[in-house]
């Protein structure tokens, strides 16, 4: 008896909510953008929010007869908040798409919801390989760490580097990067030693001392964007650069947002990544200029481009489905290709992950500012972890 009443109430509630959703769905498509706007990862949130708003400003807010409404929520980088916000956005605001996700745990925590509610989730920043496997409704427009780290390993082994120490932050993406790099590099005949740094770590010096003691040819680094600057300074301060240890990294370390502030210590760092603000293409020039103009001179980084492309994907998907959401929208997104500011990209129809060019870059001074200048391109890189699985 109790149970029946209870279920009755729940289904009644569901019905009202569902109906409400159907009515509003005709005029507007709400996009819930959940980002860390405060806390240690706030810069991620700022970049993505700015990029998403820029995209909407450039492309209007109506797609396939629907008005796009962006709802930005701050999850402070805390996973259970992300999950709660996503749930509220889906249940109360009836959003058609959730997007954002600054960090891996935030995306993973929300994945079951996307599946349960059949709402597409566009991952614009988080970079652990497994995220897209956590739900069939997750589509990614950022990139994965192995995608960036493996080309680095290949480039290193081709350029006379025999012994590498890896130094990564001890969490999902860091371990991903470490595995991808070490795997590829040992396969190519190199020698690797692994070090892990706690995620919350104010001082790199002891770890760098270990590196110095190991005397490798190169040091491969992954730390979340933002911490990179601090790392870089201590690397140079410790004189490792002069000790003949080459610094190689994924592009997170030389994040465009903070690169210029690092100063000359960053010069010459070799990184592989999918986006550089210095990428030479008309699309990118237009993007960078517009972004800077709209945001008080702030330089867009790879987070921003992830957010920008994420919005593009949502817009184009909606055009294709004529405004329908849910499974249809995810299906429409699969296989979509376009030329992004970062270069040509495709959403892999099998994995819903991104296929993109990865560039080898070197930090140089251009017009008085520091940039990652691309000097080699590896085309159409799939996420190597998932590619290896499917083979």
């Amino acid at each position: 008896m109790l149970r029946r009443t209870f279920v009755g109430i729940v289904s009644a509630a569901a019905l009202t909510l569902g109906l409400g959703g159907a009515v509003s769905a005709q005029e507007t498509m709400k996009v819930g953008l959940i980002l860390p706007m405060t806390g240690p990862f706030a810069s991620t949130g700022r970049q993505i929010e700015a990029a998403a708003k820029l995209y909407m400003q450039q492309n209007g807010d109506t797609v396939a007869g629907k008005k796009i409404q962006l709802i930005v929520k701050d999850d402070t980088g805390v996973a259970d908040v992300t999950k709660r916000l996503a749930q509220e956005l889906i249940v109360n605001d009836k959003v058609g798409v959730i997007a954002g996700f600054g960090l891996t745990p935030l995306a993973l925590a929300t994945a079951p919801l996307a599946t349960q509610a059949k709402v597409p989730a566009v991952v614009m920043a988080a970079a652990t390989s497994t995220i897209t496997e956590a739900s069939p409704f997750i589509v990614r427009t950022s990139g994965t760490l192995p995608q960036n780290a493996m080309p680095m390993a290949e480039w290193a082994s081709q350029n006379g580097i025999k012994k590498v120490v890896t130094l990564v932050s001890d969490y999902g993406p860091g371990i991903d990067a470490e595995k991808a790099f070490s795997g590829a590099f040992t396969k190519a005949g190199g020698q690797v030693e692994n070090l892990r740094v706690p995620l919350q770590n104010p001082d790199f010096s002891p770890f760098l001392q270990k590196v110095a003691d190991a005397k490798p040819d190169a040091l491969f680094v992954f730390v979340p964007s933002g911490v990179g600057a601090q790392f870089m300074k201590q690397f140079v301060e410790r004189g490792l650069d002069k000790g003949g240890i080459k610094l190689i990294a994924t592009g997170d370390v030389t994040d465009d947002d903070i690169l210029n502030g690092m100063g000359d210590v960053a010069l010459g760092t070799i990184t592989t990544h999918y986006y550089s603000a210095a990428h030479d293409s008309p699309e990118n020039k237009a993007f960078v200029d517009a972004f800077k103009k709209a945001n008080n001179g702030m330089r867009p980084n790879f987070m921003a481009v992830g957010g920008y492309d994420g919005m593009h994907l949502i817009y184009e998907g909606l055009k294709k489905t004529n405004g329908a959401g849910g499974q249809a929208l995810v299906d429409a997104m699969k296989g979509m290709s376009w030329t992004s500011p970062r270069g040509p990209i495709t959403i892999d129809p099998q994995t819903r992950d991104i296929i993109q060019n990865v560039y080898v870059r070197k930090v140089e001074r251009v017009n008085g500012e520091l940039y990652n200048v691309e000097f080699a391109t590896i085309e159409d890189v799939k996420d190597p972890v998932k590619a290896a699985k499917s083979n």
Partner: protein, 349 residues
């Protein structure tokens, strides 16, 4: 206050009634809980946040038990909350998805930790206690971080699958089952807590808080009482954490973070310390405020929370609490307030 003949004083019956009256449920209290129950039916779209409020409320009640009643300050209460959350999560993952069993296990685990660490807070002044509790929470956080094979480390504990509640109610996406579950657990534990604070045991805690020298001098085994309430409080916090893990089906290191401990202190202080309802009222105010402020200015809501805290302390927290208690006393009958002057009672035969 002249010397009066004994005749004018209270009879034994009256005294007993007067004492018991404090433990009786007032009309306001009944209304409070009826209103809470009503939200289950009338606010379906707010169940997610209400669920969080219920959990934080329970967490704050647990802190009130030690801070408000026994006078133990803590800056690390999240240790128990977090342990409860992790235990409930891991239990659901590795053993069984039955929520009630998991909740009980979480409570027991937190109680064990509470018992073990209670001996650290027996001695020392406020500052030592603040630091020791903080340290315990930090160590717990560090362990959870290092034991990533068990806890998932910085990535969080993924893949918790909860079974249906009582084998009947599945946890739904609207959070209705979750909220109903949390609310019922909160209510049951609140009734128990209320019972505790109105018992002789509860009175002895208040006496320890007010004057431990005298409490010892009337033969109260102070240390044992403190250990007992600290353990109970830890169990409560652990259950609150367990509820969070079960209803969100996710646990991250954040449950052990410093700001959890700070937030719950804040919640309790906003609502008022030492009358149990403070934690619940504070949880409602805090969460609603956070929700409003953060939807107004996502980046800067912390500023306003900070400002509220500063103003609250400067304006005299104790005095405000006293008022809140007084109002609550009115609303909730006589149960909640600090002892107040009884109505004049002269001329009894």
């Amino acid at each position: 206050m002249q010397d009066k003949p004994f005749m004018s004083s209270l009879t034994t019956d009256e005294v007993a009634t007067s004492l018991r009256r404090k433990g009786r449920w007032g009309l306001g209290e009944v209304l409070f809980w009826l209103a809470a129950a009503a939200t289950l039916f009338f606010l379906p779209e707010r169940h997610l946040i209400l669920n969080e409020i219920a959990i934080i409320g329970l967490f704050a009640v647990s802190l009130d038990l030690i801070l408000g009643y026994a006078g133990i300050v803590s800056l690390g209460h999240a240790a128990f909350f977090g342990v409860g959350a992790y235990v409930a999560g891991i239990f659901a993952k590795e053993m069984t998805g039955d929520p009630l069993t998991g909740l009980a296990v979480a409570g027991v685990a937190a109680a064990l930790l509470g018992f073990a660490t209670s001996f650290l807070v027996l001695r020392g002044a406020d500052l030592t206690r603040l630091m020791v509790t903080l340290g315990v929470a930090l160590v717990a956080g560090e362990i959870a971080n290092q034991a990533s094979w068990l806890t998932g480390g910085a990535d969080g504990l993924q893949g918790i699958m909860m079974g249906p509640l009582l084998g009947m109610f599945e946890f739904d996406i609207f959070g209705t089952t979750a909220y109903a579950y949390s609310l019922v657990v909160l209510f049951v534990l609140f009734v128990v807590a209320r019972r505790i604070v109105h018992s002789p045991f509860g009175l002895s805690l208040r006496s320890i808080r007010d004057n431990s020298l005298r409490a010892r001098a009337v033969g109260i085994p102070v240390n044992r009482r403190l250990v007992a309430i600290y353990t109970i409080s830890a169990a409560y916090a652990g259950i609150a954490g367990g509820l969070l893990a079960q209803t969100t089906q996710f646990v991250s290191l954040d449950v052990l973070a410093f700001h959890r401990s700070a937030d719950v202190l804040l919640v309790l202080v906003i609502g008022g310390v030492g009358y149990l309802y403070g934690g619940l009222i504070g949880a409602v105010i805090f969460k609603v405020l956070q929700d409003i402020l953060s939807s107004m200015t996502p980046q800067y809501w912390q500023f306003w929370i900070g400002l509220i805290l500063v103003v609250l302390v400067l304006a005299g927290r104790e005095r405000l609490t006293e008022r809140a208690r007084f109002l609550a006393g009115r609303l909730f009958g006589r149960s909640a307030g600090a002892p107040r002057t009884a109505p004049a009672r002269e001329g009894r035969p």
